[in-house]
């Protein structure tokens, strides 16, 4: 479901989720591998950018998305493929490069990139429904390798991220203190697209969907496209007042027309009253005259035309229509410099509906709607009231997230399935399979408890590890919520050593066992004429064969024998080797260190097999 819903708003409706818990849904997750494989994979930065880019473009990212971004980075010379990795394993990236992906590759307008320990900034961006790319470490462990993740939620104690470093990395939760420690290692690297996620704005607001070059003005719960820059200027709109918004607003406020006319305007002052004379164009005869409610109202329009002082209405306006009184210009933000009766000091209002002044219900709503960077008029209460017809209802978060139509229409809080009862960020409607248990929700990590923790209709799935026991290789898995003991699946091969290697209850079954291989106190006490040690390096297994029936294997092979035995094969020698593993997937006799109590010559195999080594005893004569 491609619906984006800020759950804190739903929480406000139903009162189920604490106000300081924020979860951002609708941000698509993509793991950083594939493309490439996990080894040497450094795609977390590009993949984080892909997730964010796809979010604003309403796309589902896939392997090709990441490959395309990597190709672009390569073509731009920003990074080069790793010398020792796969082509699509990527390479180290910086926040600047990720910013270029967002701006130049995805064309997302504007970004905020900073290195600042500001958790409240992240919280504000989540309120504005903006996922935040952060520089952290693998597993959010401050000592581990550097890593990028995308923050999509925040609570008092946890940060919720899309971790591209995991196949199921969506909505991973990490301890907040771990996040802060890890974030610090990147000097708090933070990157976010400048956007606001509100779905409704009051009349007069200028909005520009992220990724679009179109600027709209909100009018009567619809969007009017301002056709071009000349029109924008002639209508005396203010560039500083454009709010970048998520493109889904187009699903909620329909595009209802085009502002494509450039009016001719004059401003008159007649007996301390201000008027706007307006024609549809300079050569048009269609005209109208509007009176401003006050000087403050006039000033709020920021008209560039000079004021013409008249004692009476000029003759050329005689046939014009008389327009309505003009109050504070729609979209104007004002704050009273003194107490405005009935409102807290510092309350910010926005003018709308030509005469209405609506306060913001709270600071979070103001931030969420993206007004914090817009110009603000600070005026005495009397001046505000002189330019206002009525003080209307506050604008709440619910208003801002109310979609008038289309896909993103906010779901009614009256539907119990849409209420997140356990505060884990998911409701039944959002596939929470146990909405009474905050530890169970989609994308949760599956743990061995007999429960379906991640709501994928499977319990304890995928919880299998390799393990080893004395007799071979096995698996260690979760069953009915309990980890089993290591279960033998691949027993070792039985070798002639007097030991039950494969734990089948039989010793050296199917093999001819030389006496020397058997544990024998008598034999052990013998003093051998020949003593050699075959030592293989770390991780290798040594083998030595010193007669037609005797051989040894192990970490270090002790060749304890006699010249008589050594001569069984016609000459005094034995062969040896070092293998990577019992399967002999690789081997190298040169790796062995040979130590003997008599003079020997060590050489490449000549008698038996060239891939082996041979130890020859020049002072032993065989008869």
């Amino acid at each position: 479901m491609n619906k984006v819903l800020l759950l804190v708003i739903a929480a406000a409706l139903v009162g189920e989720v604490k106000a300081d818990e924020i979860f951002l849904e609708g941000v698509p997750f993509k793991t950083q591998s594939p493309p490439g494989d996990w080894q040497h994979n450094l795609n977390c930065g590009p993949t984080s950018s892909v997730m964010v880019g796809a979010y604003y473009q309403g796309e589902e990212p896939n392997v090709q998305s990441v490959e395309d971004v990597l190709d672009w980075l390569y073509s731009q010379g920003m990074i080069t493929p790793q010398a020792n990795g796969e082509y699509y394993d990527g390479n180290v990236t910086s926040l600047v490069q990720l910013e270029k992906i967002l701006l130049q590759y995805y064309g997302l307008g504007s970004t905020i990139r900073q290195n600042k320990k500001d958790l409240d900034f992240i919280r504000q961006q989540l309120l504005k429904q903006n996922p935040v790319i952060v520089g952290v470490n693998i597993n959010m462990s401050a000592l581990q390798f550097g890593h990028f993740m995308v923050v999509v939620g925040l609570t008092d104690t946890q940060v919720v991220v899309h971790d591209p470093g995991k196949t199921l990395g969506g909505y991973k939760r990490y301890n907040l203190s771990s996040f802060l420690s890890s974030w610090a290692t990147s000097n708090y690297a933070t990157l976010v697209v400048r956007s606001s996620g509100a779905l409704w704005y009051p009349d007069g607001t200028l909005v520009q969907p992220v990724g679009s070059n179109k600027v709209y003005v909100v009018s009567d719960n619809a969007l009017l496209w301002i056709k071009d820059e000349a029109t924008f200027i002639s209508m005396s709109f203010d560039w500083q007042k454009i709010i970048p918004v998520h493109s889904r607003i187009l699903e909620c406020l329909p595009e209802n027309g085009v502002v494509d006319w450039q009016p001719y305007r004059e401003v008159w002052k007649i007996n301390e009253n201000y008027f706007l004379f307006e024609k549809t164009s300079a050569g048009s005869n269609n005209c109208a005259v509007y009176q401003f409610a006050s000087k403050t109202a006039y000033q709020s329009w920021a008209l560039p035309q000079g004021v013409k002082n008249f004692s009476a209405q000029p003759f050329y306006a005689g046939s014009c229509d008389i327009g309505p009184t003009l109050y504070l210009r729609n979209g104007t933000l004002v704050k009273a410099s003194s107490n405005l009766s009935g409102y807290e000091v510092g309350t910010i209002f926005v003018a709308t509906g030509n005469g209405e002044l609506r306060p913001f219900a709270d600071w979070d709503t103001f931030i969420m709607m993206g007004y914090e960077n817009l110009p603000l008029l600070v005026l005495p209460s009397a001046e505000i009231m002189s330019a206002t017809k009525i003080l209307a209802q506050p604008i709440t978060a619910q208003d801002a997230m109310f979609c008038l139509s289309g896909l993103y229409a906010i779901q009614g809080a009256s539907d119990p399935a849409e209420v997140d009862n356990d505060g884990d960020g998911f409701s039944v409607a959002q596939n929470d399979c146990d909405d009474e248990n905050p530890q169970i929700y989609p994308f949760q990590e599956e743990i061995c408890d007999g429960l379906d923790n991640n709501c994928n209709d499977a319990e304890d799935e995928g919880l299998v590890f390799d393990c080893y026991v004395d007799c071979g290789r096995g698996i260690h898995y979760c069953e009915d919520g309990i980890w089993n003991e290591c279960e033998l699946t691949e027993p070792f091969i039985e070798v002639a050593d007097g030991v039950d290697n494969n734990c089948d209850g039989f010793v050296d079954e199917g093999l001819v066992v030389p006496d020397s291989a058997l544990p024998d106190d008598d034999l052990a006490s013998n003093s051998f004429e020949i003593n050699c040690l075959v030592r293989c390096p770390l991780f290798m297994v040594g083998y030595a064969w010193w007669s037609n029936s005797e051989f040894g294997t192990g970490i270090t092979v002790n060749v304890e024998t006699t010249s008589e035995v050594l001569c069984e094969r016609g000459a005094a020698w034995f062969d040896f080797n070092c293998a990577c593993d019992p399967e002999w997937s690789c081997y190298a006799w040169e790796a062995a260190l040979i130590e003997c109590n008599v003079p020997v010559n060590v050489q490449a195999g000549s008698v038996d097999y060239q891939g082996e080594g041979e130890v020859w005893f020049p002072e032993i004569q065989c008869f």
Partner: protein, 243 residues
């Protein structure tokens, strides 16, 4: 020779210029006594890249090509460990400011450059042009990084499975390895992961109540020599610490 310092904790300084003569003598003695690295051994033949379920198996254990080690080594001491590093390399000990439950106790970082190296996927400061004189990171480097975990309450009985579950949850499968030089030590290599797995070569070693994560990182295309150095380093590392 200088030692890098990242404002973290203890930095071990090796003033080789001052002590070169004395050090050479020590090296000579150590060489004669067999304390410096043995030559690295090499293998030939195919490596095992199979997997029980077709998943990726890493080839991070055995050197795959024949090399010879001409590296000169120097003995150093850090924390409670005596070990050898290549001459003219740099050693840094990194300790967490505030150790989180799953953090290593400390990291030994050995590298062939005095400049800071960028391991991991993220460059902290913008350093787009690596040739820029403003860039503080080494464009080319070889480094050996050792994470040391010790002193956990249950580490003496901690299984490899539980160790990975706690410290490296991305590890899904591992395989044991035989360490011929120290029989009391067991080692594993990771064969399947669900997460970025960095390092040209990487091996985990357990000794007593300590766990070690040793990895090799290099930007060089030809890695034969550095792999040779890495395995020499591992073979000769005193995992038991100072006795």
């Amino acid at each position: 020779m200088t030692i890098t310092h990242n404002s973290r904790s203890m930095v071990l300084k090796l003033f080789l210029e001052v002590t070169m003569k004395a050090f050479s003598l020590v090296c000579l003695i150590l060489c004669l006594s067999g304390c410096l690295p043995r030559p690295v051994f090499v293998l030939e033949g195919d490596q095992d890249n199979s997997s029980v379920d077709g998943s990726q198996v890493f080839d991070d254990v055995i050197p795959s090509t024949k090399t010879s080690s001409n590296t000169a080594w120097q003995s150093v001491e850090a924390q409670s460990f005596n070990f050898a590093i290549p001459e003219n390399w740099y050693l840094e000990v990194i300790e967490p400011k505030e150790k989180a439950p799953n953090d290593a106790n400390f990291i030994l970082l050995i590298q062939d450059t005095p400049a800071e190296v960028r391991m991991g996927a993220l460059v902290v400061e913008d350093c787009e042009d690596m040739d820029s004189s403003n860039c503080q990171y080494a464009p080319d480097y070889t480094a050996i990084q050792i994470f040391v975990y010790e002193g956990e309450a249950d580490s003496a009985t901690l299984s490899w499975t539980d160790f990975f579950a706690s410290y490296y949850p991305e590890v899904q499968e591992f395989e044991s390895l035989a360490l011929t030089s120290m029989e009391e030590i067991d080692a594993v290599r990771v064969s399947k992961v669900d997460g970025p797995w960095l390092g040209l070569r990487r091996v985990f070693v357990r000794s007593g109540d300590r766990f070690f994560d040793l990895s090799l990182h290099s930007t060089h295309e030809n890695t034969r020599v550095v792999e040779d150095i890495f395995w020499n380093f591992v073979v000769n590392f005193n995992f038991g610490g100072k006795k």
